[in-house]
Symmetry: C2
DNA sequence: ACCTGAACACCGTTCAAGT
DNA sequence: ACCTGAACACCGTTCAAGT
């Protein structure tokens, strides 16, 4: 018994140019897979399940992808592109004060759908070189944006690197830790960013003010 | 063709009280599995592989464990106990200055074998409630130790929580991020702990000094 | 160019039967 | 009490054959 009912063809005796017409591009497969990943988590990303949802057979999958790893890589690439875009939009509204930028990035990370993909990608990255590369590139980009904000705040190169690393790693850690620890309140996020973005007061030239 | 050569019985026409004598306890299974996990990573922990290494059939596994999840739980529990013990030994040599404690804990986390298990456990935790519980308990313990050190350093409750959370999450993040970002040098670890353990200078009553 | 359908391998799981 | 051996289900992968 199929668990979710057939999603394949629109059903009905559709006379629209043959039922065989529904064909899916490589991008369609990738998009659908990412959708599944975000909605139901990594365990839903099975090629069997994908085929059921798309209404085709498994053989079809292998015309578009060499194997599962290649699908994961495609998902990773697509996701990292989306992330980069989103961040560029944030940093693009660029004349936000640096601290504001950090706030927005942090908030984005804390969204549930983001967390789900983050986790899956890093899991896969351990098994597949190419996924790892995509994730690495994305991480470097994020790191760069954070670092830049800190440099603008007047930190030395070394301090900026360390602080950016701390914030980014803490974000990754949060994505993987989940309910382990009491989840950060808005107020704690404020405290965190204060610590990251403040030094001994004398080093600041722009003071961050009452956030959120 | 068996990939690794039979590890089962010592071979030879051993007349030592029947070849059937080698029996493994539940703890043996768990220990061997943890060993495999640390040595070859999560992909090596297959019941097929375990049986080959132990020289028994798969049916045997199911006498000791209900299923794979139960094995994972056993591994998790065992690992968390080991971690707790190790930390108690550290915090037990208790009159180390708090900052020193944080250093030692950080160093332990950065060991490769530790990282491998950390990663696997959190992966599994997402799929299995009981693994999640074990990890959560362990995380809370670690968090508590860090928080305590920070309280001793004179931080307010709120600050101690936030700083402990940051350090612990950053550690988890590092475990999952891997080569994504430039790996922290000893010097950067110093900078990090300085940031975590220092406030505006006036708040300190014991000054941390040249570490390592 | 894109898909079906049947086959296969691998691995987790069950269970009746052995000692 | 502990293990074998054979069966089964599920899923990834291959490939000859269809349109």
């Amino acid at each position: 018994m199929s668990p979710r009912a057939g999603t394949g063809h629109p059903a009905g005796k559709s006379r629209e140019r043959k039922p065989l017409t529904t064909r899916w591009s490589r991008d369609d497969w990738t998009a659908k897979a990412l959708e599944l990943l975000m909605a139901e988590g990594v365990s839903a990303v099975k090629i069997t399940r994908l085929c059921a949802d798309l209404g085709v057979t498994k053989g079809s999958f292998y015309w578009h992808f060499a194997d599962l790893d290649e699908l994961m890589e495609a998902i990773a690439t697509r996701w990292c592109a989306i992330t980069k875009e989103a961040l560029q939009a944030m940093a693009g509204l660029d004349r936000l004060p640096p601290v504001e930028r950090l706030y927005r990035m942090t908030e984005r990370l804390l969204e549930d759908r983001t967390l789900a993909v983050e986790r899956a990608l890093r899991d896969w990255a351990r098994a597949d070189e190419r996924v790892a590369d995509a994730v690495t590139e994305s991480d470097r980009y994020v790191f760069g944006v954070v670092q830049q904000a800190l440099l603008e705040l007047g930190f030395s190169a070394g301090q900026a690197r360390m602080r950016a690393g701390t914030l980014v790693y803490a974000g990754i850690g949060y994505a993987h830790g989940q309910r382990s620890l009491p989840k950060p309140t808005k107020n704690e996020v404020s405290l965190l960013l204060d610590m990251i973005a403040n030094t001994a007061a004398e080093r600041l030239d722009q003071q961050p003010q009452g956030h959120l």
